[in-house]
């Protein structure tokens, strides 16, 4: 299952729930799959002092991010017997309530799918050179920090 070329994971703007439904549907042909584990990150309208987050604008060092993601994929496929693993991350503006990260792990049994999905999410947050800029009304902003 090792792949040679880094796959793209980036899309412009939010990730569509309809697209996620379609991705799930496409896995119905793979009748060796018994379990899917999905994680989705959604932009929160957090209140910061007087202001509320309207959107997050994501930028990345794309080349390094895809190389890091490739390494993570390879390590995950060595560690867990997955059937497949799909990752999508937004770039650009994602409004509050919209989805910015989609991790989709599938396996014969649930434990592998669940553990792999969680590990991928943690590693994406820690290891991918991606930055979020929280945008408030009136062109105010602050740079997002990831909690542990």
């Amino acid at each position: 299952m090792l792949e040679k070329k880094p796959k793209n994971i980036f899309v412009d703007g939010p990730i569509s729930p309809v697209k996620i439904g379609e991705d799930i549907a496409h896995h119905q042909k793979k009748t060796n799959i018994g379990a899917h584990s999905i994680f989705m990150g959604q932009v929160r309208a957090d209140a910061v002092e007087e202001a509320t987050v309207m959107a997050i604008e994501y930028t990345a060092h794309q080349e390094m991010a895809l190389a890091a993601m490739h390494e993570i994929r390879e390590a995950i496929f060595v560690k867990y017997p997955l059937t497949c693993l799909h990752i999508t991350h937004s770039l650009g503006v994602v409004k509050a309530g919209e989805i910015c990260l989609f991790v989709f792990a599938s396996a014969v049994h649930r434990k592998e799918a669940i553990d792999a999905c969680e590990e991928v999410v943690e590693r994406i947050k820690k290891e991918l050179p991606i930055w979020g800029k929280e945008i408030f009304a009136d062109d105010e902003y602050q740079w997002k920090g990831n909690r542990g």
């Binding site: 930028t59 390094m64 991350h89 990260l101 991918l128 930055w131 800029k133 990831n146």
Partner: protein, 81 residues
Amino acid sequence: MMEVRLMSYGALTDITGSGVLEFSIPQSVISAAELMSLLIERYPALEGKTFRIALNERFVTGEFEVGSGDHVALMPPFSGG
């Protein structure tokens, strides 16, 4: 003098801008700490910021070799997802 192409990311773009900057490095072997001092000299607001340096898309620490035309990236803590 090595003329490198400097880019910064995330919050550091508030200090240096988000474009590609020319930056001169006086020697071809330099440590990450020495490069940081040079960067702070040119961009004093970098003082006290946490960031890592990548040379040609690989993180560097300790001493490394640098050549004209190389890419140097300044990357603060990540906040994807």
